[in-house]
Amino acid sequence: MSTGEIRRVIIIGAGQAGGETAQRLRQGGFEGEITLIGEEPAAPYQRPPLSKAYLKGDLDIDRLMLRPASMYAEERIALLTKTRAVWIDRANRKVRVEGGRELPYDALVLATGAKPRKLPLVGADLEGVYLFRTAADVDRVREKFVSSAKLIVIGAGYIGLEVAAVARQLGLNVTVIETAVRPLARVTSPEVAGFFLDEHTRQGVRFVLGGQPALIKGSDRVAGVALTDGSELPADLVIAGIGVTPDIAIAEQCGLTVNNGIVTDRQCRTSDPNIFAIGDCAARPMVHYEGRIVRLESVHNAVEGAKIVAATLTGGKEHTEEAPWFWSDQYDLKLQIAGLFHGYDRVVFRGVMADRAFAAFYYKGDKLIAVDAVNRPAEYLGAKMLIQTGRTLLPNLLEDMSRPMKELVASAR
């Protein structure tokens, strides 16, 4: 397929990945038709602040918007909100949307994102039980987020802990129930998890670790959570942050290769060369990690996918991939993460946790593969540069705080 034949691009999913793709296609000089299809009522917006500043009330929805809604018309991007794509006809290159309308494409981008897992419990549909994915989800919660309300957060991942932090700052009583024996079990080391557990405990969050919710109690609205050990915790609000599942229904319908996400090559091309998949719904080979196929849920990944696809479709310069990065804000702690820590065999610390400013460097053999930096932006950015360029630092150098990170990075090879 040469890029000259592409006159119509359809993007399914109007989150950050889809929105960025549309913008970057125009910036890259694509002159053809762009149709951006999204189920939500709003134009594309940023999700990360939903569990942080937006929940707290520090940002309104306008400030979350990737671009003003008026810009889509100005840039000749047909934005179809409140619209669900239901069928892909690959042979005839058409997308059918709910209501029956069929839209033809030359290239199709799937940016369908992920859906939050629902609690697999009786009572999960009660009033007062919330999932966190969209601005509308958070709007429903926000008015109930009042001082002294009893909140139970189920799931101690980043979303759960961010919600707990905001709740404590607003004066709610907060209990976090986590089935694993520590928080952040899937996403960081026991050491860093322990730091966040201590911090939240100091801030007044109660934890039930290794706790298995059995039932959400309540008649018309939530009253509490019963655990499998027979104990019960009262609640005015329950928020579930137990992960997401990639939205792959339409990819499965049209027979694309799927394996924990829509599988793509490095150019984000699916098993159909006319269809790309990016963002939370897609899994692609990671150039900085020996081509391991990974599905990432992050802004970094959404933006990278948009850049890669835009470069491919406009015939522009191939995008040089950035090392993965993530962040989380809790209280006054800024956690910045570079790289993928899975498979590490050694963790080395720079700085001490008691100062609330430290970085954990993860190694696999001699290779630096990731860093978790708490209030340590230089360590974060320095490590990110190293991972991106395939360089490493001798672990014993890190403990010498008299040498600034910049100098250490310059000496790395």
């Binding site: 940023q46 802004v299 230089a378």
Partner: protein
């Protein structure tokens, strides 16, 4: 509303209305000024909103904060007047502000 002028490295100027209370980065992104990517949306996590503040405005924009300083340490082509535009809040005082954009944000 305060007006901010962004000058691309090729000299192209963009004059933008910037609401008070938002950041210099947000005003640029909302008007699709090329060269300010701001991938993280202002969380001070990506260092892709680097600008040079026109010297006569430096006293009004204030100084780099410590987190910003650390991030800029690893940005390209950093000068004394470098700032991360997500860390500059728009105020009435900044009406007329001129910032220049670096050649590359990566």
């Amino acid at each position: 509303m305060p007006k901010i002028t962004y000058i691309e490295s090729n000299g192209k100027e963009h004059v933008v209305d910037a609401p008070v209370g938002q950041t210099v980065m947000e005003a640029a992104v909302k008007h699709a000024v090329p060269g300010i990517d701001a991938d993280c949306g202002g969380a001070c996590a990506c260092a892709t909103c680097h600008v040079y503040v026109d010297p006569e405005w430096l006293s009004k924009t204030g100084e780099q904060n410590s987190m910003e300083q650390s991030m800029l340490d690893f940005a390209n082509d950093v000068e004394d007047n470098s700032r991360l535009s997500c860390q500059i809040k728009v105020s009435a005082e900044l009406d007329g502000l001129v910032v220049r954009l670096p050649k590359s944000q990566h």
